[in-house]
Symmetry: C2
Subunit: 209 residues, 2 copies
């Protein structure tokens, strides 16, 4: 099988969720650079030929294109039988945490980091609002990780790949991660996976460093 192609860029935690899955499972892939900060995902060409949702990541597999990181992870887990749910109950549990990630965790964290760290916008009511939502979601994740080493139990699953995506950007996260002790230990466990890499070492960057 030829390697997967992944439309991605280093700053995207959503792309990183997929890139990290492929890399740590030694699945052959290659990046297709998306120049997000110069507006590539907003162009008509990108929306018509790559992704109607105007987003990265996009995974190309033969003549199929998959989008939305949670859907891509589900596709890959089903295909490679790695870190998938081994029963309908586990699949359901994985899905609800992937949805929680998209709805409650990644959504405010990605936007907040984009505004404060990448765009250097000043603190405002908007950033405070986003920080409130982000920290509420982090507290829920931290409480879940007090129960067992990974999100759905003793075993790593694609829910972990989804939820950790933005949390490896370290100093770029504009809030204090120090108080989430269970999240910290969990990130250490993921960082110990063979072939783990930081997002900027795994995908080309869109923005000048």
């Amino acid at each position: 099988m030829p390697p997967y192609k992944l439309y991605c860029f280093g700053e995207s935690g959503n792309a990183y969720k997929v890139a990290l899955y492929l890399e740590t499972n030694a699945i052959s892939w290659e990046p297709v650079f998306v120049d997000f900060f110069n507006g590539e995902t907003k162009t008509a060409a990108y929306r018509e030929t790559v992704n109607v949702m105007g987003e990265a990541p996009v995974l190309v597999c033969g003549d199929q294109k998959h989008t939305q990181s949670g859907a891509i992870l589900t596709f890959l887990a089903n295909m490679h039988k790695k870190h998938d749910g081994k029963s309908p109950e586990e699949q359901q549990e994985i899905l609800r945490w992937i949805l929680f990630d998209n709805h409650k965790l990644t959504s405010p964290i990605a936007t907040l980091r984009f505004m404060v760290t990448l765009k250097k916008m000043p603190e405002s009511d908007v950033t405070e609002h986003l920080r409130g939502r982000a920290t509420a979601a982090l507290a829920i994740l931290d409480a879940q990780l007090a129960k067992h080493p990974f999100v759905i139990g003793p075993r790593l699953s694609i829910a972990d790949y989804s939820l950790c995506g933005y949390l490896f950007y370290g100093d770029e996260l504009p809030f204090d991660m120090g108080k989430y002790k269970n999240i910290k230990s969990w990130l250490d466990r993921i960082r110990d996976l063979p072939r783990w890499k930081h997002p900027y070492d795994l995908m080309p960057r869109s923005k000048a460093s």
Copy 2:
């Protein structure tokens, strides 16, 4: 089989996604009222015994509890074989639109309506920010619905139930829906389903009317 129990309240578009699926498919269910506006979902009791994520809806099926509307819809569609994906490709397409809904559409729309309509907060940079995100997502949905009557093609699926959840609140939505012609026609098609009801006619309200 005894009826499903659904933890819900009338103002929740996320609960409505599930309630509408159950009702329009004539699946037996009964509401369990959640007094959201008096803080019920934030209590330790709710988080410990109902939902660690502190959210509604929660679907009770025997001794199982399901949460996150997208995961509940997926569970119900698999169980009842109604409006599910009939092939792996369709399942994948449904999942990516449910994720898009959670990540990009419901997230800003629900928060914006909560702030402006339900909490009567004044317009601010936060509401403008959310309105920008909501209308960008609505434009993407409208473009998708220009191609076929329902989100993934000619047939209604749980992706439609997910995406329409907040859009039936009509005048409560603090932005102009008039320009999304394809969304309007699509909502009319959904409203024509047998047993369709408005959220407030389907679930008890948490807030005094």
